[in-house]
Structures are given as C-alpha cells and as structure tokens.
C-alpha cells in the first residue's frame, strides 16, 4: 500500500505540493486528476526520487518502506515504477540491453536469479506481442525515433517486464490516439490483481474509460481537494476543474 501523509515539496524555492494526503491500498487503482500546474508531475517525480525536488515535509511509504529516504533505483527495486509522461531517448543504448539490465537489476533486488540473453528475449518477445509492438523495437536505441505512441507502449512494456507492485502513470494518455490508448490501457488492466496497485495521473477523464479506477482524487494547487468513486471523473469532465475550485 502507498501511504502519503502531509507531503510538501518545492522546486527552486517555490512550493508546489502543499500537503498531500493519499492512500492507495494494495490491489487498487486510484486516479489523480488535476489541471495544469496543480502539481501532478511533481507528485510523481517526488515519489520516484528525481533530483531537483526538495521535500520539505511529510512522509511517503510503500509497503512500509520510507520512499523518500531511498535512491531512485532502490525505490524501483522496492516495486515502484514511474511511467514517464515524456519517455527519455537514449541514443546508443539498445532497447534490449536496457530492458534486460533493468529487469536483472530488479530481479537481483528481489533475490531472483538473473535472466540470460536467451531467456530474456523469449520473455520480451511474448510481452511485446501482447502490446502489438514490432520486434525491431528491441534492436533500436531506447525510444530513439519512436513515435509518441511507441514511446508510451515502450513504457508499458517496461512495466509488464518489471512487474512493479505500484505503477505511477504520469499522463500516459498524453499524445496518444485512441488505438494506442486502448493498447496502453489493456497493458495496465492485464497487471491488475491483488499484488498490483497503481496511481493513474491524468488531466483528462478519457483514459479512465479504459482503466476504470477504484477511487478518483482531485489535485488542485498542491492539495487533494476532493475524492470519490469513478463517477467523480465523469462529473469533472462535464463541469470542469473550475467548478471544483468554486465548491
């Protein structure tokens, strides 16, 4: 379970998160919705451990582990996964090499044996087939020359291979056409189960038609201002964020 209490954080002295309280019980998928500038991306980066964000107060634990005390790679081996809004291109790093290095790092962290190249390829090919990804994406540089949709599918492929306990999807729907959106949603839904929880961060309700959340939270001006069931996303779509602000 992800448990965030009173989390405050700033960038360059500017406070962005102003006291976040949020719990995502194991096995549940929660959505965090909010307008631009509400702190959505900051929340995901702070949880994943990106440099440049200063946590000024509060706690964030995952299954009892103090996330904020760990290096990014330690958080990942603990089971946290951040699907990036803008996946980074790594020219000269082959996708297959990247995926295998990451997978084996996670497996080492879990005390599982590492996979050799053959075992890895077999597994990767199976997962790629499920995500309708062409096999040559393994040979290319990580995200290099990938379309927006391919990059997002590559994120979901990483998630499917690393099998995190908690996936934070940072505006994974941005820049996706409806077909790509469905593939990405299918990838996330396939992970659903008692061992998997997810925080789906999005501006729009559209993605939540395909990944139906257990709970929806509204993030505005660095705070969770409203929480509810999946119907909250729909009403937000109709009334907009300004109505929430007024409420």
């Amino acid at each position: 379970m992800l448990k965030i209490e009173g989390l405050t954080a700033e960038i360059d002295g500017k406070q962005i998160l102003k006291g976040i309280d949020l719990e995502v019980p194991q096995g549940e998928i929660h959505a965090v919705m909010g307008p631009n500038g509400s702190g959505k991306s900051t929340l995901s980066y702070v949880l994943a451990g990106r440099e440049g964000y200063e946590v000024t107060g509060g706690t964030a634990t995952f299954n009892g582990h103090d996330l904020l005390a760990m290096e990014p790679e330690e958080r990942a081996t603990t089971g946290l996964f951040l699907a990036f809004q803008y996946p980074v291109e790594l020219p000269g790093v082959g996708n297959a090499n990247f995926l295998r290095t990451a997978l084996n790092a996670i497996r080492r962290g879990k005390g599982e044996p590492e996979l050799d190249a053959m075992q890895f390829l077999k597994l990767a090919r199976a997962r790629m087939k499920e995500l309708s990804m062409p096999e040559d994406m393994l040979k290319r540089g990580v995200n290099v020359g990938f379309s927006g949709g391919e990059k997002k599918r590559n994120e979901v492929l990483q998630m499917a291979l690393l099998r995190p306990g908690l996936a934070i999807l940072d505006e994974t729907d941005s820049g996706l056409d409806i077909d790509a959106l469905k593939i990405v949603a299918d990838g996330v839904n396939a992970m659903r189960g008692p061992e998997f929880s997810s925080l789906v961060i999005t501006h729009y309700q559209r993605l939540l038609n395909y990944i139906v959340p257990d709970r929806v939270h509204v993030l505005m001006n660095g705070r969770i201002v409203q929480s509810g069931g999946p119907e909250l996303a729909k009403s937000l779509e109709e009334t907009g964020y300004t109505a929430v602000q007024a409420a």
Binding site: E71, E73, R75, F84, L90, P91, G92, F98, I106
Partner: protein, 424 residues
C-alpha cells in the same frame, strides 16, 4: 649502452652520435642521408614548444625533463603475449622484432632495409616535424608490409610492447606499409605497456596506398601509466584508394597521435575516426591534418573524447581543400563528454577551403552526462554507477559503429571494455 642519457634534445642527439655506426642502414648511403637530414632538422628545432600553433595545448615538458636510456629486454626472453586480435601477428618487444612470436606477411624493416629503398622516407616529413625527425634519426626496427597489386593481406596485428621500470627508456619504431593497386589489408596496431615506469614510445608509420587500395588501420594505444606515446602517421592515398582509420587512446600518461593524410588522386577516401578515454591525470591529444589534393574525394571524421578526473583532452582537426579538389565531400565531428568539473577539453577544428564546389561540414560539442537520461535509467532500478557506464558507452558507440571491419570492432571493444568501471 646501459648509460642514462641527459635530458632534453641534446640527450637524443648525443645518443644518435654514439649509436651512429650501429644503427641499421649504416652502410646504405640513402639511409644515412635520411638520418642526417632528420638529425639536422631535430638539432635545429628541438622538441616542439607550445608557442607553435600545432602544440598550443600539449606540453612536452615531461619529455624534455626526462633523461632516457635504452630499452634492454633480452631478445630471447620468454614472454606471455596477450590474445591476438587478428589471425596474423608481428610482435615488437621494446622495439625489437621477435621473429619467434611473429607470423604472417609482415617483415622486420631493420633486417630488410634494402627492400624499403624508395619507400622509407617517401611519405614522412621531418623538416617541420621534430618527433618524426627524432624517429627517423634513431629508428632501429619496425614492420615492413609491402603488398603487391591485387593482393588481399587479410588482417595483421602489429603488437608493440614496451617494458618499463625504474629507468626511463625510449623506443622509436618505424613501420612502412605499401599496398599495391587494388590490394587490401586490415592492420591493427596495438601499443601495450608492461610496468609502471616512464618511457617514450615514438612510432612513425608511413603508408602508401596505390590506386584503389584499401587499408583499414586501427591504432590502439594501451600504454602503461608512465608511458609517453607520441606517434605520427603519414598516409598517401592515390585515386580510388581508401584509408579507413580509427585511433583509440586509453593508456599512457601523455599521448599524442598525429595523422598526416593526403588524398592525392580522384575519388580517394579517408576515415579519420577515433576515441579517447582519459582518466585522472592523463593527457590525450588527437591531431589530424587532412589534405584534399584531388577532386571528388570524401573524408569522414568523428572523434569522441571522454574525460574523467583531472584529465585533459585535445582534438585538432585540420582539413585543407586545395583549389584543384572540386566536389570534395568532407564531414568532421568532434564531441567531448566531461565526467568531472576538473577535466578540460580543447577542441580546434580548422577548415581551409580553396575550391569553390565543395561540401564540408563540421561540428563540435562538449557536454556532461544528461541528468534526465541518468534518472530514467535509475528509475528502472539500474544502479547509478551502471547507469553512468551505460551512457558513457552509448556516447562512444557512434564512433565505434563507424568501423565496418568486424575484427577491428572486436579489438576496439576488448580495449575499451570495463574502462567505465575503472573511473567510477
């Protein structure tokens, strides 16, 4: 012979005078004339000073302050060689040809000087290049490879190992390579150091490529930590010939590789690629002079330098497009990756173009590891040190990818493997 020589150019000149009647070719007037010309040039110039434009960034004080003696490995010493990188191999131990460890097409130059008459000294310049002059004055041996027209020489490793200890030593090998029309060769020149002591390795390579010949030339410098590596390559390419080279600097305290390449006939081609991996305290200098002296020639150059700790890297790349060299197609790129605030790179591209119908582009970048890329890797569970290694390797990949020959790529891969872990 065991004497330690005084420091500075005088030490080398005195040695030349002392060795004079024992150097190979003493009975061959053309060799004596070459040596005398070189000695005169060296006497008048001394070591290059930083006042010279071509030496602004590389200081030879370390060389000038050291008194060198002569390398003295017994010629019959048992020696465990590293694994060969090519099917044929010619081995020089402290500059001396080891027939017992060599096989293939390459011969000893020292023992076959007559066969090199008209070739040796035909490409190298000594008047304005003191280090080439020093080599010409004092060379004792080297490899001679002379392929007839149409021959395929396969792949040869030219391995030079210098042993060092308490007493600084110096070796000046001279390698002479000629490929007849249409001949092909892959040459992997590899310099290894054994021991931690100070030494000077000052090789000169002269290369003549006749029409349509194709030479792939890898130069892998893995000298010991006390080594000073100052090498000069001269290559002339006739019409349709290709000089495809890759320089790698990994070892040595101080290294500079100069290449003087001239495309003398139409449709000749040169690749002057390279990489330097410099750790704390190392200085590496890749300097190239490329003459486009005929029309319709092409040149490609990508040089990458990775600098850690207090290292210093230099890239100087001059491309001279003569007036006759219409339709020249030139590309030059040099990139540096700084892993430390204390590292320094000096980069000097220089294009002189006298023809009007040419396509020449060049670029230079200097950067650090990208924080976004590092975070992306770490967010996937990859430890920071591994993530850094992956990104350094990726930076070099583009340069290594330009090497088409599999044997050479494998040799380069072996030479750089694990470097990233050593500087973490």
């Amino acid at each position: 012979m065991n004497a330690q020589f005084e420091a500075g150019p005088e030490g080398f000149l005195r040695r030349y005078e002392g060795l004079n009647n024992r150097l190979p070719g003493i009975r061959q007037p053309w060799v004596v004339a070459l040596r005398e010309q070189a000695a005169n040039a060296f006497r008048s110039k001394g070591f290059p000073s930083r006042k010279l434009e071509a030496w602004r960034y590389t200081d030879l004080a370390l060389l000038a302050q050291t008194g060198f003696g002569e390398a003295l490995t017994p010629v019959d010493e048992d020696f465990a060689l590293p694994e060969a990188t090519a099917p044929q191999r010619v081995v020089f131990l402290d500059g001396r040809f080891r027939a017992d460890l060599s096989d293939g097409l390459a011969r000893s130059l020292g023992a076959n000087l007559s066969a090199a008459e008209g070739l040796l000294g035909s490409v190298a310049r000594v008047d304005d290049l003191p280090l080439a002059a020093l080599n010409t004055m004092l060379f004792e041996d080297g490899a001679l490879i002379d392929l007839p027209a149409g021959a395929d020489g396969g792949a040869i490793e030219l391995l030079s190992i210098i042993q060092s200890g308490d007493r600084p030593v110096t070796v000046h090998p001279r390698h002479v390579i000629r490929l007849g029309a249409g001949a092909r060769l892959v040459l992997i020149e590899r310099a290894l150091g054994r021991g931690e002591g100070r030494y000077l390795h000052n090789p000169v390579v002269e290369i003549v490529l006749e029409e349509g010949a194709h030479l792939t030339h890898a130069r892998i410098q893995q000298e010991g930590p006390g080594g000073i590596f100052l090498s000069t390559v001269f290559a002339n390419a006739a019409a349709g010939a290709t000089y495809d080279s890759f320089l790698l600097h990994v070892g040595a305290k101080l290294s500079r590789s100069e290449a003087h390449v001239s495309l003398n006939g139409p449709k000749a081609m040169a690749h002057l690629n390279g990489a330097q991996l410099l750790a704390d305290g190392q200085h590496g200098d890749c300097t190239t002079f490329l003459d486009h002296a005929a029309p319709d020639c092409a040149s490609r150059q990508t040089v990458k330098t990775v600098l850690a700790g207090r290292s210093r890297g230099v890239f100087q790349g001059k491309i001279h497009v003569h007036q006759v060299a219409q339709r020249t197609d030139g590309y030059q790129m040099n990139q540096a990756l700084l892993l430390s605030d204390q590292a320094e790179i000096d980069s000097k591209p220089q294009l002189e173009i006298y023809a009007d119908d040419v396509k020449c582009s060049h670029g230079a970048t200097v950067g650090e590891l990208d924080e976004n890329q590092l975070f992306y890797l770490r967010a996937r569970g990859i430890p920071q040190a591994t993530a850094r290694s992956m990104l350094i390797e990726a930076f070099l990949q583009e340069a290594v990818d330009s090497v088409e020959d599999e044997t050479v790529r494998a040799a380069l891969g072996t030479a750089v493997a694990g470097w990233w872990e050593t500087i973490a």
